[in-house]
């Protein structure tokens, strides 16, 4: 690195051994949130970005390649931070990467520091810290167009002189303007370095910033009139709350209702493929494996894509426009009751559609503690996959014509389940954020309220693409794997025709065969084996098998029970369920689906993490198996205890 009293342009003494041996230059992007850092990263690297994780932490690592005149530049997009004095794991990554003495990370050969030209008075504080790392630095000024539009002023050339490092102004993510920056990126060892480093004490830094900005002719932009006018409505105690409620309603509607037909198409398509397999593959077990195991698994993965894509379209639009910060501002007081901050609201709301997009939405939370706490609460929100289960069980539990005053009792029970789910989610988040408080420092809450901006479609598209790709790459394996394992458990060992006939089952009667197969499967053995565990809840092994099968997706519970019931009474499966009796054990012969058992099942499904897709996405978003294991464990314990309690309470009243 070039040190010592060199002026600009004189820093030609590259230190030996770093650039010569590598085939590419390694640079990193540093900047505060909202500084246009990721937009610049996307503009420079395009779709050639790679996502990974930093060793040992749950922080995503983004890097991409930029080719300049045949030379490769590896560009790393560091997490956004307002300071190098880290107070969170994300920020610690930035400090570690920038610290040449840190052995766990590779310090880049040069840093591109994005500074929002409209907030220079603040952002130069971080630049002062960055310059002290002695890593060659180049400043990328963003939002200069907005600075001029808001009647601010800045002499970029004078700023370059005052800072002593290269300064390049870019506007938005326009690729054609990046030529100057791209040319600079190849040789960071030739960048000018400050002749004297900025001071380190707060007052000294203030003086340095004042002086630098004065000599660069910096005039603070006037407050954005457009933003002020919009905020007067959107943050108004009454109008703001109404707009917020409408926005969230629309948001939920899009994820819930708009995604539904798209998911329907995907399901129909895979059902069609399954039928084709059934029609053309004559070996029954193979047909079943292909259609139920493989196609079911792939379909089970793809069915989430519409929701994830729509969610990220909405989230990145809200972020890009600047409404996310406003929504969080409005909801912060409410969420503070659960120990969270406002931004967690969007994640919990999305979980009403499905916990998977909900957990992915926690990426918007800057504090890892809040992120984990929200992830632990999100699976408790009543997702759409619970609906068929609830509908079936409520139908058995509550008479269709029963009423609580003017409203149908079935609807009241459904509403109560939603409400209890939401309250439990908040309670769980509160608990985990309390636990997290003991392990790390309490992060101060602060949230920049950026001016309203027109989001770049490119950034929205990339965010959606990135989310879908990440889901498919990391979660697909887990969902597909679980589906196949479950299929094997429920279908093996496969009986021979002779064996079927010996037990009085006609091999051509597919329904009867599938019931027989499930009854004699390894899964049934598991269901019987765990019977003592679920006995206090009143579940027999058939419910256990259905619960086990529903691990691939909750609605499978309905299908599996339906299959069993259809075998007993093909014309009226619902009646069959009602008439089903306990198969064995001390209660053999008694009706199985009594009110206490049904209530216990409902409560069990309310709490249990009966969804391997959620486990998979928890694994991906938290970066390790620790949190999905904790979530599965604690939710199982809660589900079991609450179900047992419910059975006792309901049993006492019925």
């Amino acid at each position: 690195m070039t040190c010592g009293p060199h002026g600009p342009g004189s820093g030609s003494g590259s230190d030996a051994g770093t650039t010569a041996t590598l085939d590419h230059t390694h640079l990193a992007l540093v900047g505060s949130p909202n500084s246009g850092k990721t937009t610049l990263f996307n503009a420079l690297t395009g779709l050639r970005a790679k996502t990974g994780n930093y060793p040992g932490v749950t922080v995503s690592r983004y890097e991409g390649r930029v080719e300049v005149d045949g030379q490769q530049v590896l560009l790393e997009d560091l997490p956004g931070t307002y300071s190098l004095d880290a107070i969170s794991p994300d920020e610690q990554i930035v400090s570690d990467v920038l610290d040449p003495g840190d052995p766990t990370t590779v310090t880049p050969e040069g840093l591109l520091v994005t500074l929002d030209a409209t907030t220079l008075r603040r952002s130069l504080r971080m630049l002062a810290q960055v310059l002290h790392t002695s890593v060659p630095t180049c400043v990328v000024l963003t939002f200069t167009d907005e600075l001029y539009r808001r009647q601010g002023a800045l002499d970029v050339e004078a700023l370059r002189r005052a800072l002593g490092v290269p300064v390049v102004a870019v506007v938005g993510g326009r690729r054609q303007q990046l030529g100057g920056l791209r040319a600079l990126m190849v040789r960071p060892d030739e960048w000018s370095t400050p002749v004297v480093l900025p001071p380190t004490d707060p007052t000294g830094v203030t003086g340095w910033i004042d002086s630098v900005l004065t000599s660069s002719g910096y005039r603070l932009p006037v407050t954005d009139a457009r933003t002020q006018r919009i905020d007067a409505v959107l943050l108004h105690p009454v109008w703001g709350s109404i707009v917020f409620a409408l926005t969230m309603f629309a948001f939920f509607q899009v994820i819930f209702a708009v995604a539904a037909p798209l998911q329907g198409y995907i399901e129909t398509f895979f059902a069609f493929l399954g039928d084709q397999v059934d029609a053309h593959v004559s070996i029954d077990w193979l047909a079943s494996f292909l259609s139920d195991g493989i196609l079911g698994g792939v379909g089970g993965v793809l069915v989430f894509l519409p929701q994830i894509a729509l969610l990220f379209v909405l989230i990145s639009l809200m972020e890009g426009v600047g409404y996310m910060a406003r929504a969080a501002f409005l909801m912060d007081r409410v969420m503070a009751g659960a120990g969270l901050e406002g931004r967690a609201f969007v994640a919990l709301l999305s979980s009403l559609a499905c916990a998977i997009p909900g957990i992915m939405a926690t990426r918007t939370l800057p504090s890892p503690r809040d992120r984990i706490a929200t992830m632990m609460g999100a699976p408790l929100m009543t997702c759409s996959a619970r609906l068929p289960v609830y509908v079936l069980l409520i139908g058995l539990l509550v008479d269709r014509d029963a009423r609580f005053g003017p409203v149908g009792a079935q609807g009241v029970v459904m509403f109560a389940l939603y409400l209890v789910g939401a309250l439990s989610a908040m309670a769980s988040a509160w608990l985990f954020s309390r636990i997290g408080r003991g392990t790390g420092p309490l992060l101060p809450f602060y949230m920049e309220m950026p001016p309203y901006r027109v989001p770049s479609l490119r950034s929205v598209g990339l965010a959606v693409y990135d989310a879908c790709r990440g889901f498919l790459r990391k979660v697909a394996k887990i969902i597909l794997g679980t589906t196949i394992v479950l299929w094997l458990l429920l279908n093996l060992p496969h009986p021979s025709d002779a064996q079927l006939r010996a037990d009085g089952v006609e091999p051509s009667d597919r329904a009867a065969v599938s019931t027989y197969v499930i009854d004699h499967s390894a899964g049934a053995a598991v269901g019987r084996f765990v019977e003592p565990v679920f006995e206090p809840l009143g579940f027999d092994w058939r419910i256990n098998v259905s619960v086990l099968a529903s691990l691939s997706a909750r609605e499978v519970f309905v299908a599996t029970l339906g299959q069993v019931a259809a075998a007993e009474n093909p014309d009226q499966p619902a009646d069959a369920l009602e008439q089903m009796t306990v198969a064995d054990g001390p209660r053999a012969g008694e009706p199985l689906f009594t009110a206490p058992v049904l209530a216990a099942l409902l409560v069990f499904f309310l709490y249990a993490l009966q969804c391997m897709s959620t486990v998979g996405v928890l694994r991906r978003e938290s970066g390790s198996w620790k949190w999905p294991a904790i979530a599965f464990g604690y939710l199982f314990v809660v589900a079991w205890s609450m179900a047992a309690l419910t059975r006792l309470v309901v049993g006492a009243f019925v």
Partner: protein, 199 residues
């Protein structure tokens, strides 16, 4: 409040740094006859070899073997303390405030604005500075260009004022001996420009 300063390198002289300070902090230019004690200490211990005052900066040179990265912090602290009390400085004998303005004009001509004029095929030179009033001569392509009145002179005056708030008036003349009329063009009082030179 302490005086806000920042360092800028001096092209071609690695021992020197211009510590840019608010214009008008010190009432003189050139080598001071006496330094405030904070700076004198650094001269006495052999760190600093030369101190020169410019309209909006103090140019400090250090001994050849020293590194600015090492001594920069000490020089900064000493300067901030020294600039906090302008009365502790003694300017060179016989200097007056027009010297500050004259040097400011010379720096502007040598700097960005001069570059701009030369880049457009023009010439600009200082004729006279008296009592806050500056007279410059325009030549070459700029001599009769109508935009030299507004754009150029405004830029010029902004740049001079940024270095020396004492300027009261800028007057441009065509270069003596240039063909055509030799008129004196008086400029309107300066209005603030909306954008800086680099905009």
């Amino acid at each position: 409040m302490s005086v806000a300063i920042h360092p800028e390198p001096v092209a071609g002289d690695p021992t020197a740094v211009r510590w840019v300070m608010p214009a008008g902090t010190l009432p003189f230019v050139g080598a001071p006859a006496a330094l405030p004690p904070e700076l004198q200490t650094l001269v006495d211990d052999g760190t600093v070899t030369r101190v020169e005052v410019e309209p909006d900066a103090v140019r400090v040179a250090i001994a050849a073997g020293r590194s600015w990265r090492v001594v920069g912090g000490r020089v900064r602290s000493a300067l901030v303390a020294a600039l906090g009390d302008a009365s502790a400085w003694r300017g060179p004998g016989g200097a007056d405030r027009d010297d500050v303005l004259r040097m400011a004009v010379e720096q502007v001509i040598a700097g960005d604005v001069g570059d701009y004029v030369r880049g457009h095929g023009g010439r600009i030179s200082l004729l006279d500075v008296r009592g806050g009033r500056v007279e410059v001569a325009l030549g070459g392509a700029c001599a009769h260009c109508p935009s030299s009145d507004l754009t150029l002179t405004q830029r010029f005056e902004v740049a001079v004022r940024a270095r020396c708030p004492d300027v009261t008036e800028v007057v441009t003349r065509d270069e003596p001996g240039a063909s055509g009329e030799t008129g004196r063009r008086r400029l309107l009082p300066l209005r603030p420009v909306r954008r800086s030179a680099a905009g």
